[in-house]
Amino acid sequence: MLDDLDRRIIRHLQAEPTLSLPDLADRIGLTAPRLSRRLEKLESSGVLRGQRAVIDWRALGYEVEVSLRITLDKTYSNAFDEFIQEARDIPEVIEIQTFLGRVDLRLSVIARDMPHYQQIYRSHILTLPHIADIEALMHVARIKSDESLPI
């Protein structure tokens, strides 16, 4: 079970993931060895799964990001599996999410510009299996994106 100290560690680390172990220990008021034991426990229990570098696709020349909200033809029992399997093969798909609600799935697709997007959409997205309906949301701006948990 997590205690208040664990939560405090996660809170600090969430706000500043690049903090070094001694700095983090300092802020929390723990010795470095005690902190590192806590972190090991958080990792081995699967609470802390790791740290990922966040890539700015725009800085790599991908100016367009589109959310495709997809409804599947659920008369096929394998519709989800087959759709997801094939969507994984499209390199420009950076996120695949499934939902309970009005839409079944969402793909986050990036492209260099509109002609590039058009090409991905026509030759890779529309050929995915079991699509019943697609709606597109075009990204204008990210207003908040830290993805912190309110712990």
């Binding site: 790599l60 420009e92 597109a136 949301l137």
Partner: protein, 151 residues
């Protein structure tokens, strides 16, 4: 900076999986010296291609069992109302991401909650009371997969 070579791409891919790897360890993997690897990573940061780090936490183990995506349409538009809405929505701790989009909604929010009744509380007390908020559509996240992207 768009002239990434294969080694840069491999480094990016490796850091997107695990950002805590040292330049020495990465260098050994890609047959580079530690300083050369460090310089490449530095360059990826300076060019804004790596824009930071994200903790990968198991939200469920931390007590957040529900993630919901909300599509929000504003009832009234105009520059002032967008700013008011954005200021208020980014201040809600349960709202992890806010994206301004074009399409059938104006904003897309990612919201975490402890369970469905906690989500209902956030929706009623925090979201529905936002300035200018109109139609809201909710989709409960069932699964999520982040892909490496076109590297």
């Amino acid at each position: 900076m768009n002239d990434l070579d294969d080694i840069d791409r491999s480094l990016l891919k490796a850091l997107a999986r695990d950002a805590t790897q040292s330049a020495g360890a990465l260098g050994r993997r890609f047959d580079l010296s530690q300083p050369a690897t460090w310089r490449r990573i530095r360059r990826l940061h300076d060019a804004g291609i790596i824009k930071g780090r994200r903790l990968d936490l198991d939200a469920e183990k931390l007590g957040f069992g529900v993630t919901v995506f909300l599509g929000v349409k504003l009832a009234t538009k105009g520059r002032v109302s967008l700013e008011d809405f954005e200021r208020a929505v980014t201040a809600i701790p349960e709202v992890q991401t806010v994206e301004h989009v074009l399409g059938m909604y104006d904003y897309r929010l990612r919201v975490v909650a402890r369970d469905i009744s906690d989500f209902e509380r956030v929706l009623r007390r925090r979201i529905m009371t936002l300035p200018g908020v109109g139609d809201v559509e909710a989709n409960v996240l069932l699964s999520e997969e982040r892909r490496p992207g076109p590297l």
